[in-house]
Symmetry: C2
Subunit: 187 residues, 2 copies
DNA sequence: CTATATTAATTAGGAAGCTAACTATTAGGC
DNA sequence: GCCTAATAGTTAGCTTCCTAATTAATATAG
């Protein structure tokens, strides 16, 4: 058994929060799927293949973004927070949670990290003492200024293999995929 | 500010490992993006929009899968492991790691959980005492048998809004997106 | 105007990832 | 044949997410 590339980027803080690579291309190839389909009449080979292709892309893009952000000592969550604050200064932690789609508990943790690193500041809110206002520090603002050109270049690069029409089509198809998620969640 | 649906599924073990919802549709609408684009010439609005659409779909599909698997007391990682073992009995933890695309340390943790729940068994390997062989128990096999019909139905449901041609197109476009990940990672 | 509701933030505890370091065991070189 | 390399699995410690419970402050109802 050959050596695995467990550390693709030695001596870098990659912190790749990779989602489990779906087992397509690894365990379940198309023929294995067809064998399974014989046992389970519910299995639609094309649907499963498309799903696995999506999950695999998801994992790869996540990993790529994680290594990108790690270069600047950030995670995607922290970056999102910094971007929010650069757009609207003085958001409350609850605002941040709502806009990010994560819980307030998670925001507490991310802000702890950002504050420890000096990128962000929590200030008391005089009119309602339950609340806080979160502000970018100059260090935080400078970090964004420094990284955004690279960030946007890389985003363009990520999409560079798709033509303008293809990007539009991709968005359309992703919306259709999104519309299927209730079927996965429903009781 | 209105009450947030922090618990969309009360009294259920949802354990939704949702990726941070990208801030599109929340903070940065198209006009905000265009404003940013004036400051950063590197920003390609279409590329960023496509990227955010993808990330948002990613988050929603992940959340849907997590709630689906949680119904059976599983995570996606644990399910993947069970499926691997149902295809090839007696894999070593290293095999599992390689096939899943996660580290061996992660596999140790997942196997601990699966073994605690009685779904899986670690047995010593006589010819090489460094290794272990992992086997499904009957409980594990039964769980899979019980859940797979539902699982495949829901997978079909997830993809139900895409025609056969659209699924093919989606896979093609996802491959092109995947081909862009090196641009995000490169030094 | 006090008792109860709600809201904001945090804390505690857990899961699933990661890296790095450690322990056994096996394999290979001289 | 021993000494060193490599390999397999685990452990320790970190991050980011979650839910549930706690604390403090405000709002509301009677």
């Amino acid at each position: 058994m050959n050596q695995l590339p467990y550390r693709e980027f030695p001596n870098e803080i990659t912190q790749t929060v990779s989602i489990l690579r779906p087992f397509v291309d690894r365990v379940v190839d198309r023929s294995a799927l067809q064998t399974l389909a014989q046992r389970y009449s519910e299995l639609d080979v094309d649907a499963v293949e498309a799903c696995l292709a999506f999950l695999r892309t998801t994992a790869d893009v996540q990993a790529a973004l994680d290594t990108h952000f790690a270069r600047y000592g950030l995670s995607m969550g922290k970056f999102t927070l910094l971007m929010q604050l650069s757009q609207v200064d003085g958001l409350t932690p609850s605002d941040c949670a709502e806009r990010s789609g994560v819980t307030r508990a998670t925001i507490t943790g991310l802000l702890d990290g950002l504050e420890r690193e000096g990128l962000v500041e929590r200030r008391p809110c005089p009119d309602d003492r339950r609340m806080l206002r979160v502000h970018l520090t100059n260090v935080g603002r400078n970090l964004l200024d420094r990284m955004l050109p690279d960030h946007f270049c890389r985003t363009t690069g990520l999409m560079a293999n798709l033509s303008s029409n293809e990007k539009t089509t991709l968005i359309k198809l992703l919306k259709k995929l999104q519309a299927g998620t209730p079927a996965m969640m429903q009781p």
